[in-house]
Amino acid sequence: MGENWLVERFIFWIPLVLSLSVHEWAHAASAKWLGDDTAERLGRLSLNPLDHIDPIGTLILPLLGVPFGWAKPVPINPLRFRKDVGMNTGLWLTAAAGPASNLLLALFIAGFVGIAASISPGLLPDVAMPVVTTFIVLNVLLAFFNLLPIPPLDGSRVVDAIIPDSFRPAWDAFAPYSAFVLIGLIFLPRMSGLDLFAWPQQWAMQLVHLARG
């Protein structure tokens, strides 16, 4: 492939940037919906990738081929939620909104492809398929990965907000080591073949096949 490796990276990277934008936008939008306009005032209630890009996490690492990345986190201020929204409720709702948006985006694209395929098989050119597939798989993986209950992922915030008090000491004890766990999870598949992401990936591929009919 030679010079094509960068092309391959970009076919992966552009959907990643767009999906991350949707993800961060969902955090900001849900917070706004619950009454917290912190993110909006910082200009993060936006689908524009330029508002969310983190130079290292979104640009350099993914383009260098490191299999993960991040965008600038959207700040949430629970004190600004509406009065009828509990602080914990608001926190896990806003945290879950990001992954949920990715899942919805994947389903939406799959549905779109499905409809296009059912109208006419030639409506969606074959050229677009790798991109669409990347979009769907990437979004499913993003949703799954972010819902892992490991700080600082979104899943941990959900857990943080709804965990019963009796489990809290154990949870707090785990938090300081979460970074190692996270790095382990990301690199374990390469070393051991035990791929945590294989299942959502398969599920996403099934979704793609289902969509194409």
Binding site: G2, I11, N48, P49, L50, L59, V127
Partner: protein, 489 residues
């Protein structure tokens, strides 16, 4: 940099990703290298294009496919036996585009973010760099011809310029030219302009810095900046270092509340050391300007440092004429006697004269707009501009109406005083004086118009008409103001 529109970014990225996908798709089908070897063995291959790693193979059936592998000697021999054409080249167009676009994009993004982050943070090390601006001969539009008056200063500075241009004659004569020249004089008399003219006249490098730019919040920064400035100046000699508002750093040490100002004094100490530091042939001259020479530290102005003091005095009439000539250069002047204007503008500094000419031109443009003819600057424009400069408002204001209301007609003339007033706004009022006080005149017009109150400061010229009683004339002339006005302003 203006942020790109969301829809535009999405469209751009989506188009790009489709382009990449299409680019990849358009590649010929890849087959295993073994398949290629088999094809070679079966003599199916017609031609090969290779870049060393990837082979693009044309079969005798006219099919195209790619494969990855290296043509070793054995295969190559076999191929040449079969008469297969092997071309070594990179697949020009798509190869380059698919390679360049990502790289360019990546660089663009990197540059964008670098700029963004640079704008945010001030590097602590950059504080130590001198804040001077370097002015080259070409940048400076000002020469001595643009400086009116200051003949003395020009002559002395001419020596300095000559020293920088051709030092040999001066060195041969054993002349030690001043290391530093201090231009002192009241504000607006052309100290900075002279310095800029030096920049325009000499071919030496010209470093412009203001005294206040050295001193920073942190002690030591100012000294570091002075060092940096002089290092640069010596490196690029011959050069002129111009320190404007020298009193900002050169203030006498140990003065002021609390008796010390560490940062400023350290900056000054460094400046003193640097002034001593040039060797005799360094050809670096320090020009400094201040309007407070009295507060300067004595060590700064001792011989060997900034020892030549050039006074840039207030302009005399001849100098004012010259300045006016320079300032009206290129302006559509309507045969104005500049000599007269210069006489009227007694005590005006150069900056004020410049302002005067600008104001006159502005008024002329305004007038030409009203009268819909071409712009000519007349004597009246200058006179009115001078009124503006002196803070004379030609309109009535609230205070005026108050004063008129309370005016007590104290100065009712004993007889008829018939006058014609030319006002600064260009109109003329003619009639009898009803009353006059310190600030106003009430004029009654003969043809039945309502009485008119005129402020004396609106009046440009007062003309006594025939029909005025001798007693009233006396009164008008006793009034000092009226005396002055009865001359041609």
């Amino acid at each position: 940099m203006k942020k790109l529109n969301t829809a535009f970014v999405w469209a751009l990225l989506l188009v790009l990703v489709m382009f990449f996908a299409w680019n990849r798709q358009s590649d010929n089908p890849a087959v295993p290298f073994a398949q290629f070897l088999a094809d070679v063995a079966e003599e199916k291959v017609a031609g090969i294009v290779t870049d060393g790693k990837t082979l693009t193979v044309t079969t005798r059936q006219g099919e195209l496919y790619t494969t990855r592998g290296v043509l070793d000697a054995a295969i190559f021999e076999k191929l040449s036996e079969q008469g297969v054409v092997v071309n070594y080249e990179t697949s020009a167009l798509t190869g380059w585009i698919s390679f360049l676009i990502p790289v360019v994009l990546l660089l663009a993004f990197l540059v964008y973010f670098l700029r963004k982050s640079q704008a945010k943070t001030t590097n602590i090390l950059s504080l130590r760099r001198s804040p001077h601006r370097e002015i080259s001969e070409a940048d400076s539009q000002v020469t001595f011809a643009d400086v009116g008056g200051c003949e003395n200063a020009k002559e002395e500075l001419g020596d300095v310029i000559d020293f920088l241009k051709a030092p040999q004659r001066w060195l041969d004569a054993g002349v030690r030219l001043p290391r530093g020249v201090l231009l002192e004089g009241p504000p607006g008399c052309g100290k900075t302009l002279l310095a800029r003219a030096v920049a325009g006249e000499t071919n030496a490098k010209f470093f412009l810095v203001s005294g206040s730019e050295f001193v920073e919040m942190f002690v030591g920064v100012g000294a570091a900046r002075v060092r940096d400035l002089f290092e640069t100046a010596v490196k690029k000699a011959p050069s002129v270092v111009f320190i404007d508002e020298l009193d900002a750093v050169g203030r006498r040490r140990g003065s002021g509340i609390g008796s010390s100002h560490d940062e400023r004094e350290q900056t000054l100490n460094q400046l003193l050391v640097c002034l001593d530091g040039f060797k005799r042939n360094d050809r670096v001259v320090v020009l400094a300007a201040t309007n407070r020479p009295d507060v300067l530290d004595t060590a700064l102005v001792r011989p060997g440092r900034i020892d030549r003091r050039i006074r840039v005095p207030e302009l005399n009439e001849a100098a004012r004429v010259e300045v006016l000539k320079i300032q009206t250069r290129g302006k559509p002047i309507d045969s104005v006697d500049l000599q007269e204007i210069a006489r009227l503008a007694a005590g005006f500094s150069g900056a004020r004269l410049e302002n005067l000419c600008n104001e006159a031109a502005l008024l002329a443009v305004r007038r030409s707009k009203r009268e819909a003819n071409s712009v000519r600057i007349t004597r009246e424009d200058f006179v009115r501009a001078m009124g503006t400069d002196l803070g004379q408002d030609q309109r009535f204001n609230k205070l005026d109406s108050l004063l008129i209301e309370s005016a007590t007609q104290l100065a009712e003339p004993t007889g008829t005083a018939r006058v014609r007033l030319s006002l600064l706004d260009g109109t003329t009022v003619q009639g009898d004086v009803v009353w006059a006080d310190a600030a106003f005149l009430k004029i009654r017009n003969s043809n039945g118009d309502p009485d008119l109150v005129v402020a004396k400061r609106q009046v440009q010229q007062l003309e006594v008409l025939p029909g005025t009683d001798a007693a009233a004339l006396d009164e008008l002339q006793v009034d000092r103001w009226a005396m002055r006005s009865s001359e041609t302003v």
